[in-house]
């Protein structure tokens, strides 16, 4: 049924995205990139897909400048999509930007807490997380004002409500604020794709539920792993777990009680995928479970690498579905990974550390 009317509103956007997908770098491109001797060579190799955006870069640019230009391209393409979309598709695309908004707001709150000139912070904000009232945040000089008059006006206001008061902003570590917001955002997004009349029962619900569940589980696992050895209590930690996903509720409960990597492995063993990840990187992980030990597996892949790999595979599979705006999500994730890959490769080239240059994730 959904195929009948989807193209009336969303057909053009979907077509454009499928076109964008074809310009993503392939394994062949990556193997060419790894052969490069300098950043200029990398720039040349990226020419076909990024040409006009890289043209303004000076010779031998820094890797961050290169990544910045690549992000610019992603941003301009996404802006075009969001301008072309209407109705539920537009709403869906807006949801995609909320993640970046959370990062931006966390940045601004950090700046306000330390009484920095928030104007200079605006330049550091991610352009995708830009919203109309973002500059207004600069008006606020203290955290109470920020909360009462400014944050209420942002699209993220519902995520603040109920879980964070303005006292929390003062006392809590900004990371906890950020993760609380992200948790609320993921739950809201999940709710949106499952209950919105346009999406319920459509391929969008299928793929996005799966992706968001994975995202929620990944966050829960990461938060647990990264909280070992910090002052984050188990109670606080539990509040940061999104309340859906394959791990919810039994796995989440076990995660909240886990005290070391073995505990986490036990908690996720109910889900075959995650169990396979933990087996691949080795359960013991050096035994200590402290932050620094996370990534020392035998084949050079860390747990996060495996999570990224899985995410990319899922994003790639999205393109097998039709009549859904979820392809935009898949494309964005693939594009972001591509930027990370190119940054990694050019870092390796710039620092002359070729032995680990193959440590990127390519799915095409």
């Amino acid at each position: 049924m959904e195929g009948l009317f989807f193209n009336v509103n969303g057909g053009y956007v979907e077509g454009i995205v499928r076109g964008y997908r074809n310009s993503l770098l392939t394994g062949q491109n990556y193997s060419n990139l790894t052969q490069c001797e300098s950043i200029d060579d990398v720039k040349l190799q990226l020419g076909p897909s990024y040409g006009d955006f890289l043209a303004t870069l000076p010779p031998n640019p820094s890797t961050s400048a290169l990544a910045g230009k690549m992000t610019d391209k992603l941003v301009s393409e996404f802006r075009y999509l969001i301008a072309q979309s209407t109705g539920s598709t537009a709403k869906f695309l807006e949801y995609l930007t909320y993640g970046y908004m959370i990062d931006n707001i966390a940045l601004l709150i950090t700046g306000t807490l330390h009484e920095r000139d928030t104007r200079e912070l605006l330049e550091r904000c991610h352009p995708l997380g830009w919203f109309e009232t973002l500059p207004v945040l600069c008006v606020a000089t203290n955290i109470e004002e920020l909360y009462n008059s400014v944050l209420i006006e942002t699209p993220l206001a519902p995520y603040f409500k109920g879980s964070l008061s303005h006292q929390d902003l003062d006392e809590l570590n900004i990371e906890i604020v950020r993760n609380t917001l992200y948790k609320n955002y993921l739950e809201d997004f999940f709710n949106f794709v499952n209950t919105h009349p346009d999406f319920a029962g459509s391929p969008t619900q299928d793929v996005m539920s799966e992706i968001l569940q994975f995202e929620a589980d990944r966050r829960s696992i990461n938060i647990t792993l990264n909280s070992f050895g910090t002052e984050l209590s188990k109670q606080e930690r539990r509040k940061l777990y999104p309340e859906f996903g394959k791990l919810y509720p039994e796995g989440s409960l076990m995660l909240s009680r886990a005290e070391d990597v073995e505990g986490v492995a036990l908690a996720v063993s109910a889900v075959a995928d995650y169990k396979a990840f933990f087996d691949a990187v080795g359960l013991s992980q050096g035994g200590s479970g402290m932050g620094g030990m996370g990534g020392g597996p035998a084949d050079g892949k860390s747990l996060e690498d495996l999570f990224y790999q899985k995410e990319m595979d899922m994003s790639k599979l999205v393109f097998t579905r039709q009549f859904t705006p979820a392809v935009v999500y898949g494309w964005m994730k693939l594009k972001e990974q591509e930027i990370r890959n190119v940054t990694w490769i050019s870092e390796c080239i710039a620092q002359n550390q070729k032995e680990r240059i193959g440590n990127f994730i390519s799915v095409f």
Binding site: L107, T110, R116, R124, N226, E347
Partner: protein, 294 residues
């Protein structure tokens, strides 16, 4: 190295001789001490140079690894976390303590790094993703900074030691012995003196040589005085002997004459005739002596 070059402006007396002797002794001891100090410092200096070389090579490696781990972080986090970390750090975790080390009288500052365990300001950064990479990156950078601190301590010691060794060597050279009997050494020194501008190897600074000169001069002058004194005494005693002999002869002659007169005129008073005669002879004798001698 002639003896007349320099000497202390003192009078050649026995007291100043003793003084000079003590000074010369002090200068010799000081010279050997300074020389030993210079050797100890040079040894230390070479060791530091070697360690700086090692530390610099190590720094190259460590900094490379550290920069790479930062690249790993940016890959895992997928964004810039620099600002957040700058803002959340309130207290220094990695601290440096300075202490002094005494190397043969030279105080070398030594920097010692230690980590304040209680301070962990960005423990929650990257909670959502990349936390492990951030922790690892932090540890790598802590090691890198450790190497830098070690290098800084070595470099400071290097600079200070360099300066001190220069000063000590200059002093040692200034004090070098005048009686450097070694012909080769002496010729080399004079050669050096020609080459080195006079303000570097200044003559007034040759303390030991001056002292030795002074000591020798005083000694020879005192000897001279001694000899003069001895000669004078000899002359005086000679003259006294002669005078005595002359006086004895006069007395004898007078007695004989008196005896003759007594024999001719009976017995005149001996004492009367004897008394005026020695006075006249003495006066005469002295005048005659003066005339004869001088």
């Amino acid at each position: 190295m002639s003896g007349a070059v320099g000497r202390e402006p003192v009078f050649p007396t026995r007291q100043s001789l003793g003084l000079m002797k003590a000074k010369l002794k002090g200068a010799e001891v000081g010279h050997s001490l300074l020389k030993r100090k210079s050797e100890a410092l040079t040894k230390r200096f070479r060791e530091i140079t070697r360690r700086i070389d090692e530390a610099k090579q190590k720094m190259g490696r460590v900094m490379q690894i550290a920069a790479f781990s930062l690249a790993e972080v940016s890959y895992a986090v997928g964004g810039d976390i620099g600002y957040q970390i700058q803002e959340s750090a309130k207290q220094a975790r990695f601290r440096v303590r300075a202490k002094n080390e005494n190397v043969s009288g030279v105080y070398l500052p030594q920097f010692e790094s230690y980590t304040e365990e209680g301070v962990n300001d960005f423990g929650l950064t990257g909670l959502g993703k990349g936390g492990q990479q951030i922790q690892r990156c932090r540890e790598t950078y802590a090691r890198a900074v450790e190497t830098l601190v070690e290098l800084a301590s070595l470099q400071t010691a290097f600079l200070i030691l360099d300066e001190v060794i220069k000063v000590v060597n200059r002093r040692v050279n200034a004090m070098r012995m005048a009686e450097s009997t070694n012909v080769y050494e002496a010729s080399m020194l004079s050669f050096l003196e020609q080459r080195i501008p006079s303000n570097v190897c200044n003559l007034p600074y040759r303390i030991e040589q001056d002292l030795a000169n002074t000591y020798q001069d005083i000694n020879s002058e005192l000897d001279e005085l001694d000899r003069e004194e001895f000669y004078r005494l000899k002359k005086v005693s000679n003259k006294k002997q002669r005078d005595n002999a002359a006086a004895d002869a006069e007395i004898l002659a007078a007695r004989e004459r008196a005896a003759e007169k007594a024999a001719q005129n009976g017995t005149p008073p001996v004492a009367e005739s004897k008394e005026p005669e020695p006075e006249t002879t003495d006066v005469l004798g002295e005048q005659e002596d003066n005339d004869v001698i001088f």
